[in-house]
Amino acid sequence: MSLYRVFDIAGTGLTAQALRLNTTASNIANANTVSSSIDQTYRGRHPVFAAEFDRAKEEQGAGVKVLGIVESDAPLTTEYNPSHPLADEKGFIYKPNVNVMEEMANMISASRSYDANVQVADAAKQMLSRTLTLGQR
């Protein structure tokens, strides 16, 4: 039954989009986390998606998988603020390279995609439950 596969596929989509929402939440939460050295500064995190293939039948797809999470290599914001408690000996603090506008757009895109996958699973559920009662009327 391919309909059971639809659940698996929509499930992989849900997992991936939920992870994307998670990283977005983490990025927004840490958007103002300053630190006193470049190495310790938070960097924006983004998941990398790739298409998953069914290993038994290579021609058919089996949803989406998350290859990993990469840290953004955009330049950090350096600010001269000697009065800040976390300022280093030269008086600089370092701010994360998170663009809050980008993250908000990312969040909306992820939640829309999540909705789409939920609707797919819902439709598949309806199709299945009606098939299971075939001929019983």
Binding site: L3, V6, A50, G135
Partner: protein
């Protein structure tokens, strides 16, 4: 005269199997709506139905992942979609609205086939049980 289920049900069982297959393909497109480099696919329904009716497609089972994949499909049923939108830069060709419409249309067509089958079955039941 015997009752032939094959004749009574007609094309609907094969059609429903193909609709199921298509729903998996469309669900894959929707799940990969944000995957870079993913190309949207769809089932060529006419070809698939012809193959299903004549049962031409068969493949040799593979017991090792390095075996060649050999199948006697006359024509490939699953094809890449023609792209109508401009490339957004990540090589992804999924138009999410189109896929969602296609998915719900496909599921309605599946349920239509179900309804046809249901009425055929109740007709057969009537024929077997007689008027009472």
């Amino acid at each position: 005269m015997a009752i032939s289920f094959e004749k009574a049900f007609g094309l609907h069982p094969e059609g429903m199997l193909l609709r199921e297959k298509r729903s998996a393909i469309l669900a894959d497109n929707i799940a990969n709506a944000d995957t870079p480099g993913y190309k949207a696919k769809d089932l060529d329904f006419a070809t698939a139905l012809t193959n299903a009716q004549s049962r031409q497609s068969s493949s040799i089972s593979r017991t090792h992942e390095k075996h060649f994949q050999i199948s006697t499909d006359m024509q490939q049923e699953v094809k890449f979609r023609n792209v109508e939108q401009t490339d957004t830069g990540d090589g992804n060709s999924v138009d999410i609205h189109r896929e969602r419409n296609a998915f719900s249309q496909n599921s309605m067509e599946y349920q239509a086939s179900l309804n046809f089958l249901n009425s055929k079955i109740s007709g057969l039941k009537k024929a077997v049980g007689g008027q009472s």
